[in-house]
Each structure stands twice: as C-alpha cells, then as structure tokens.
Amino acid sequence: MGIQRGSIYALVAIGFNMIYNSTGIINFAQGEFVVLGGLMMVTLTMNLSLSMPFAFLLSVLFVTIVGFLMERLTINPVREPTVLRLIIITIAVSILLKGLAMCIWGKGSLYMRQFTQTGPIEFFGATIMPQTLWIIGILAAVVSAYILFFNFTLTGKCMRACSINRDSARLCGINDRLMVMLSFALSAGIGAVAGIIITPIIQMDYGRGALLGLKGFGAAVLGGLGNSGGAVVAGLLIGILEAMSGGYISSHYMDAIALIVMLFVLFVRPGGIFGKSEEIRLKEF
C-alpha cells in the first residue's frame, strides 16, 4: 500500500524537480497534471473502451500538450519573470485546470479497472495486487528513462547545462526558453503517468490534485529540491511512513503524519535528506 502511493509521490516530485531545475520555481499545477492524466485515462478506457497501452499513451500525450500549452501561454509571455510572479501564475493555472476538470468530468470520483484482471498474487507469503507490480515497474521504467535522457542524449544534456549555468548554456547556443518549455512538457507527462497508474487504486476525482501535489512537493523537498534520485527515495519513504502510520496509529492521521515527519526532517536538515544545505537557493529565472 505504502509503496503504491510512495511511487506516485516520487513521480510527482520528479516533475517538480524538472521545472525547478530549469526555472527555479515550484510549479503548483503539478498535482493537476496528475489528476488530468488519471481522468483522461478513465474516459479513454472506461467510456471509449480503448486498449490499455493505447489509452495510456494518449493520456500522457494529452497532458504533455497541456503542460506545453501552459508554458507557451502563461510562462513564456511574461516580460520580466521573477520567481514570485511565476509561482503565482502556476497557482492560477492550477485553479483553472481544476475548474476545467470539474466541468468536464464532474464532481464524483471515477472508477477505473486495474491494468490486468488477474487476482492477487502470492509472493513470499504476502499477497500483492497486480496493480502494485505495474506501479513499481512503471516507476522503474520512468526513472530509467529519466537517467538515460539526462545523461546520454544531447537534448537532456542541454537541459542539464541550462540548469547548471544559464549564461554558459546560452553561449553554447542552447535556447534556454525552449528548455523551459521542454521541462514543462516533460514534467506534465510524468505527472500524467503518476495519475494513470494510481487511478485504479484510489479512484480519481477533480479535486485530488492539491493533496497529491503537496505530498509530492514534500518528497521533493525531503529529497533535496532538484535532486531526483533523492526525490524517488523520499517519495517511497513518505508513502511507506503514511501506510505505517495508517496501520499502527490511525488512518485519520495518515495524511498529517507524513507531513509532520517531513517538517521535522526539514527542521533538522533544511536541505533535505540528500541535499546539501548550501544548495538551498532560489534560482533567478
């Protein structure tokens, strides 16, 4: 149970990091990408009865385009971008997306069947839902793709270069604005993946973005902002902590306990578990 949610927080945190690395801002619409991915998947599979893989690709593509449009229409035209201005814009966009999702998909939570219809699997005495395996597998795939992209493709290296030193990157001929756009599109895509794989378990509704986003943000901060390896570990950690507190203390306090632990860690290590404290800086856009 914990690992499922934890994987989602990890994916959301990776999305936060991507945009943070390219712009220095926190994208408050990240949770909405997750919701849109999930809702779109429900429509495509349950209402239009498309096959799972095809619906998966289409949903990710749809949300990627939403991320792309968000950057082009709301971030790129800003004349004098400051961190505060951009953050406020992302909050506005999140409210807008939430409203749109409510208009399109309604207020109720939508059911979606699991990816595969086999029953629970016995695994060393524990029973595991097949969906859990899907979630873990897809998290692993996304993380691998992420590592390959940023270390072995020239576009990925350009994006990293841009986040390391913007001026130097521009002097190499890298279009920094294009990299910002790419980071929005990619992190929207990753958010969509998170939403799609969790929907069969939690049932998606339009209003879930805020809490998912918040916990993902917690994971990002806990892992050290901008550090995606840390984000994955921290995301899983928060998920497991949550599940344990739900089991041992009370499921009423489940949401709170993870956040309290996160606050506590930040008091002790402001840079996150894996971050260096010197690295807590707000980048200029």
Binding site: L154, K157, C158, R160, A161, I164, N165, D167, S168, A169, R170, L171, C172, G173, I174, N175, D176
Partner: protein, 245 residues
C-alpha cells in the same frame, strides 16, 4: 569585423557603459584594459548578447547584431569565454565539449562533432586524459583550457576572452597566450581580449583600448600603449618601478 557605436548599458539604475565605441579588424587581436569595475566584462557581455544594450549599435561584418540573443550569435561565429571559467562542473569534460560543439552537431551531425572533439584533444592533450572526469574536478588551469576549448568547438570567427589568465600560474598563463597567438596566426581568428595582466596581453595584441569607469579613454597600437606613461602608471605597475630603479 566588429564595431561598437556609442554603446550604453546599465544594470537597473546603474549606468555602466557610457558611449563605448570600439572596433576590431579581421584577424586582429585587440585588448581592453581597465581597472576593476570599469565595465570590461559588461562590454563583452553586451557584444555576445548576454547583456541588454540600452542605446547604441553593435555591428558584426557590417550587420547590425544589437539585441540578437546570445544563443543565436553563436551560430553567427561569436564565441565568448566568460570570466571565471564558467564550465558545467557536474558534467564530464567530454560532455562539456559536446555542448560547446552544439553548432557543429546542428549543422553537420554527430560524426563531425566527434571529429571536432578529437581535434580539440589534439590541441589540448590534458583534456583527452581527463575526458571522463567531472569538469569541476579539473585544476584551475585545466578548467580554463576546457572553457577555451568549448568556445573553439563552435568554430568562431570572433573570440571574446574575459580574463583568461585570472588566478593562474605564470606557466599556464604563458601557455594560454601561446594558444591564442597560435589560433590567430594559423586560423586567422579575430580576438577581443580582456586582461588584468595587461603587459602580457598587450605583447600579443595589435591594438588596445583603455576603459575607465565605463568610458573608452584611450585607443592606440599595443606598443604605444606599452610605452605610454599614463598607462604604465595605472596598469603596468611593475615597469614603473623598473624605470625608477
């Protein structure tokens, strides 16, 4: 080749460049000397498109390039090695060179990029041995070599160098100046150089400018500047003592 006409630039309300005019002919090496905070770095940043120009024009080969973004100017043959070895420290030396050669990749593809990196390794042998190391782990001199190599990877016609000898041992400074001279004589590269080490810089230059609080106050051939008493007093401290002795 490069011409600045009454260029003005400011950081917020601070007026840093005041009617800076200068020119650099094809194949020339030109040095700008000036005290700390005179605006040398700002001048180079304005030329390479990193710093907005408030007033005035910059021409490259007669074409007005004022306000063209830095990432586009690279494709037009302007390479800028910024102050303080701005390499991508958490990336490998090889990756740094690859990024420097982005222009080559865009125009001629991956194969040509490989060739280009190989030829860079021939010029800078140290970098070949370190190619898989993180750039941040290189010594200061090696980092400066890397920064220079990255700029050269874009096959520039005009090279802007901002204090390449800053904080380096005399031997490496010598090596860097040797490479600049070599590039200029072999490839006909045009170089605009900024140096605190005015003596060494003027020795390899054709002409020089003196920048004082954002204004060009003097322009002359390099030899004339080297023997100019005013310049000697302000920027070539050591020579002054020799005269007194």
């Amino acid at each position: 080749m490069l011409r600045l006409v009454n260029v003005n630039s400011n950081y917020g309300l601070v007026h840093v460049l005041k009617n800076v005019s200068l020119h650099v002919g094809k194949g020339e090496v030109v040095t700008i000397i000036g005290a700390n905070g005179a605006g040398k770095t700002t001048t180079l940043r304005a030329i390479s498109g990193l710093q907005p120009v408030a007033e005035g024009q910059i021409y490259l080969d007669g074409k007005d390039i004022t306000g063209i973004a830095a990432q586009k100017l690279v494709a037009m043959g302007v390479a800028h090695v910024p102050e303080g070895r701005q390499i991508f420290a958490p990336m490998s030396v090889h990756d740094n060179l690859e990024l420097g050669g982005l222009q080559v990749y865009r125009r001629f593809g991956r194969k040509q990029l490989k060739c280009e990196i190989e030829s860079m390794f021939e010029r800078f042998e140290v970098l070949r041995d370190r190619q898989n190391q993180y750039a941040g782990t290189l010594s200061g001199g090696e980092q400066q070599m890397l920064a220079l190599a990255m700029a050269l990877m874009s096959r520039p016609r005009l090279l802007l160098l901002d204090e390449p000898s800053m904080g380096l041992a005399p031997l490496i400074v010598k090596e860097i100046f040797r490479i600049i001279e070599e590039l200029q004589s072999e490839n006909g590269l045009t170089v605009l150089l900024i140096e605190q080490n005015a003596n060494a810089a003027l020795k390899i230059s054709d002409r020089g400018y003196v920048l004082e609080t954002g204004r060009i106050v003097l322009e002359a051939d390099a030899e004339k500047l080297l023997s100019n008493p005013e310049v000697k007093r302000a920027y070539l401290g050591r020579e002054q003592r020799e005269i007194w002795e």
